[in-house]
Symmetry: C2
Subunit: 247 residues, 2 copies
């Protein structure tokens, strides 16, 4: 992949944190400021969240690589069209980034939250990490941002915490909620109705909290039982705080 | 608690991140630099980890409140002596911090990792949060620091991730490991032998990773099967990465 490995640039995969630009790490700010090339994922026709968070630190004159997803709606990860389309997309992203690294430029790939925690950059690390020097910078996760803006200590002492995608089937959600002291349900989006039923069946609805756009403009935090809408954004989360044994 | 509420200082509970001082957030660095009083937990005869991480940002002339734990060894959370001793300790910490807040000083209480994720500061928030203005600053968790320094993407797509205290009994650990795609086992310490057996029984030993002092001096990362010692530090973690369905 690289014909000039020794002079190739370094790929920095930079966690930008949950949304508030001040919740980036000192290391992320430094690396973003010094990279000649800044890359980020974006949805068609939308601003890149990660870029918005990092914007103040991007150096004047840095080249920007906007990596635009080929899909505009949520897709099932087992859908064959999704699998083919996303593979082609990642191959194209890989080629664009590799060209800059080969030319000797450092590339900062921005990633919301923490890159190794449900991060979109993992597919590019799989494709670039063996051929190029790669440095990953962890970030504050979206869920940490959400429970902090909810003012809700989540887990303490011997609590078991489960991180559950809302895509799990209802039985599975109920079982895991019952078996855990604390839980974070992610990807609420079109799974809202099922999640609502699972929270009721597991006895967790009363202490659950709904958070939308945590630490960002448009932040909404409310007790889940007071959230009566029938739709929610993809990135909304439901928190079920632990600490039920505290004295 | 406060007789001059309107002029009382603000309590900032500041997540300092996993250990590397550069993994503090910009907000944490700013708040630590401006607080007149900096408080932190410490073990008797030891440096405070949180203070070491934050040291470069503490302003010249800030008052420091060292909150020294009354116990020097790991205690069972159900031990009556522990319960009485720790309650007295928290009451004393509360009084010391409240006195500074009442005098109008802002207090920055340092907390390793993320305060609302197994943080030691939660007990003081319970005691001070209703009487004083409190701001919590989330941080990069210790587990994010560990999986980043292990170079190990942990969870992706529809993975279920379980955060498990090593204090769980063996059957419980085995069941939860089998039921999850990814897992983090914390508080390895004196639970090492049990954790080793649970990893073997659950079929997770081969992909598990042992991390000690992640992102700090003395960092050790190795495949769990190559870690043959019979003891481990309290704060060591075992990571079981997910992403087994990736293409």
């Amino acid at each position: 992949m690289s014909t000039a490995q020794s002079r190739a640039g370094t790929l920095y995969i930079v966690g930008t944190g949950p949304g508030d630009p001040e919740l980036m790490t000192l290391k992320a700010a430094r690396v973003i400021g010094s990279a000649k090339v800044i890359a980020y994922f974006a949805k068609r026709g939308r601003q890149s969240h990660a870029r918005s968070i990092a914007e103040a630190h991007i150096s004047f004159g840095a080249e920007e690589l906007r990596l635009e997803y080929p899909f505009t709606t949520e897709r099932d990860v087992n859908d064959e069209n999704y699998i083919v389309g996303i593979s082609e997309f990642y191959a194209e992203c890989t080629a664009r980034i590799a060209a800059r690294l080969d030319a000797g430029s450092d590339v900062g790939l921005l990633c919301e939250g923490d890159p190794f925690f449900y991060g979109s950059s993992q597919a590019l690390l799989d494709r670039l990490g063996t051929a190029y020097k790669t440095v990953v910078i962890p970030g504050v996760t979206g869920m940490s941002g959400c429970w902090t803006c909810a003012g809700m200590p989540m887990a303490h002492g011997d609590d078991v915490l489960a991180v559950l995608p809302g895509t799990l089937d209802e039985e599975n959600l109920v079982e895991r909620l019952v078996a855990s002291d604390a839980a974070v349900i992610m990807k609420v989006g079109r799974n809202l109705a099922k999640i609502r039923t699972a929270l009721q069946r597991s006895g967790r609805a009363a202490r659950a909290i709904y958070v939308e756009h945590g630490t960002m403009t448009g932040e909404r935090v409310l007790p889940f039982v007071e959230f009566e809408e029938m739709t929610a954004p993809y990135f909304a989360v439901v928190l079920v705080p632990g600490r039920q044994r505290r004295r």
